[in-house]
Symmetry: C2
Amino acid sequence: MPNTKNEHISKLKHLLSEIAHLTSALEMLQWDKEINMPKKSAEMRAQHISYLSGLIHHKTVSLNQGGLLTRLERALDKGKLSPNDKALVSEVLRDFKREQKLPQAFVEELSHETALAYGAWQQARESNDFSKFTKPLERIVELERKQAKFLGYTNSPYDALLDIYEPGMTVAELDILFFELRDSLVSLLKRIQKSKYKVDYSTLKGSFDLQRQMKFNKWLSGRVGFDLETGRLDTATHPSTITINPADVRITTRYQEDDVLNAISSTLHEAGHGMYEQGLLLEHFGTPLGTSISLGIHESQSKLWENLVGRSKAFWKYFFPKLQKEFGKPFSKLSFTESYEAYNMVKPSLIRVDADEVTYNLHIIIRYEIEKALIEGSIEVKDLPSIWNDKVKEYLGIKVPNNRLGVLQDIHWSHGLFGYFPTYTLGNLYSAQIYVAAKRDILDLEKEISKGHFEHLREWLRKRIHMHGKKYSAEKLIKKVTGEKLNSSYFTDYLEEKYKEIYRLS
Amino acid sequence: MPNTKNEHISKLKHLLSEIAHLTSALEMLQWDKEINMPKKSAEMRAQHISYLSGLIHHKTVSLNQGGLLTRLERALDKGKLSPNDKALVSEVLRDFKREQKLPQAFVEELSHETALAYGAWQQARESNDFSKFTKPLERIVELERKQAKFLGYTNSPYDALLDIYEPGMTVAELDILFFELRDSLVSLLKRIQKSKYKVDYSTLKGSFDLQRQMKFNKWLSGRVGFDLETGRLDTATHPSTITINPADVRITTRYQEDDVLNAISSTLHEAGHGMYEQGLLLEHFGTPLGTSISLGIHESQSKLWENLVGRSKAFWKYFFPKLQKEFGKPFSKLSFTESYEAYNMVKPSLIRVDADEVTYNLHIIIRYEIEKALIEGSIEVKDLPSIWNDKVKEYLGIKVPNNRLGVLQDIHWSHGLFGYFPTYTLGNLYSAQIYVAAKRDILDLEKEISKGHFEHLREWLRKRIHMHGKKYSAEKLIKKVTGEKLNSSYFTDYLEEKYKEIYRLS
């Protein structure tokens, strides 16, 4: 065991780098599994992945061997660490202590039960029969409540789960944010639906060669600032971002033959995630200072590029002529305004992942309200379908025809992901607030964007957000970047202004 | 530490499986580096690879912790192990003891010096200046001699190095095999060169769409029995076979726009390697019983498919019409015999990797004679260019215009690979002897091949060779499969018969 404070820090960094290299190898195996793995290699691949995951877990829970973390915590408490080392040590301690609180037997039970629940969910969904999922989900909810107890909380047990994905966020804060947001969205949606002015997304459909789409999306991802020399864009059923390391970030998108804009919004979304990962500093690779802050902040980066930029008038000015030139029909027959408005059509729908900017967060709020109530014990699993359907009727104004298109649509709960959904909406809220700050800081940002100059925005995000890793908490970062704490009004103001114009609202 | 013999075996298998999973991850990183890695990720990738290599090394040298191997060696010596366990333990012990013999400081020095030598070799080659490589190569030779001393030997120090790549092979045996072979090849080559009958490979050249070539090679690899559901074929500058595990074997080939047969022979070669790897049993994954025997036996599988099958008349009967149909010109204008003979043209050339079946092994024998003499200390590095050029003149009858096309052409020595070259020729000798046995065992094999039925041969190879892993030594295996020990006459008889007909020799 080393003796001085600096030696302890070096030792910690060394141990973290070992975990990081193993994680890179694991991510490589995961990426390849989606993209390149031969058909019949799944069983063996699962074994490699399981071994590496176990080894990473073992190395993580062994970080305190020889009392390394205990000594560093003492130095932290005594205020003896530099700002960077302080962030390093306190973030490592946070994760380490959380791990320590969960007994091994519990972790194994949860893993076992979620494996079963995932299978049950698939069957329930296929046969459109919620009852097949009731018992397994009850077990998961019970275990998640247990987990909250192990992790500890002051007010709601849901706080403990939320903290896993969005450190520092609480039910108290979310309730206020989401309550205001829900009312505002429901009211905006009603006004839009009452409007006599209609726009129609289907006018954007056509027939688009897949190879051509791929080339175009690759070009676009690079154009907005995703670095294709330290990253890749590939095709996958479920678009995602996988980071081997900040110099090797791999995003995927999916293509539809009849809808070129579907791939484009998904590419912009993943490019946003990807640029965050590429913006982390290599010198902090493997340490909290080289790691993204939270799922919410991550999602803010994807939503910013997908929506705030990608669905804006400014972007459309730059982008629509390219679209016309590259694909011709139907764009060649549409005006700028027709196409811009069609791309931004608002229409309540049953499936979260298909939702527009206005209704998307109502889908999330439904899930938030339900999972919070489940964890707090105020509703029961068996009543989920009717609760779900009532909420969809109330907030979105539509009837759920069956559970497959309702409560059974998402994979999350079967995986034990409670406390995860809210980060999607937090991403939207962060993104709007951040974008207002960007417009304040960057001269004529929208004009720049309309000319295809994305580099100022990208650099601003890199310097303000990406490069700091976990040096600041989400709460501190948002204050530092925007001057105030998270506030849903930026997002609702953005929607109000945009959709008032599109739908000619009074 | 477990107590019973079976517990020791289980423990050993468990430790080996850990090493195997890490090796799979390492191979995945290596494969991706060649095929998919973004341009600027090389530096970080090297760090991942270096960490994993170090971890694998550490786990390998730690196999005897708690005296596990010592106990198993005792059980082995007492004859207490089953045949499979006997092979398992003795092969693990062989590798382990070899590792143990090399002091850590020596391994690090060799690794350091080869890194330097590789750079020097690149520069020497680029500037066509052997003197830039003299000193580094002298250091490597010195270290290789040291290595031979550490490893131990009875007769030649070169035996110790040979044993790394072809366990059990010795200078005494090679000298006989290669002496007979060299005389036979030199004499055959002279007769061919004297023949008035000429064949011309250049008649096979044309212009071949690369996408079409790729599709065709993929089809061909699957056709001969490389399983594309447990493997892949991709494109790379240097064709190779990378094994993630026997259910995920990845081969690469390279394409030339003007020469479709170049890719085809390289695909058949790698498919041969690939089928060996796919034929190993998954149940023995990570243990010697799930690992190929030697480089020579491995090369026998690639040469068998590339040459014995791929350049045979029988194969050509099946294949030539496909080639004509798929690519048209120039094949549509050539007869069966013209094209078959052109594909088998014999012409001495300067570069080993471009050589034909007759001259290829003369290139290897030159390298063998030189590296053996270097290790035994009978020649000096500074004299290599003139020794090289003299041998090329003597065996191949051609003049070496410069060192770049001569002694500087191969990467091997700069990497410290002494004792490796002979395995290429051993592969050719094994392949001919094995193929005669296959023709004896399989009814009408050549007729089968001419009809495109490769499955009997593939299955025969799988059952006779692939599935046994290292259960038998190369020497035992070849006796078991062919009924006698390795003998160069099968190969020389094969060449004699084939080229006598092609070149109308008396």
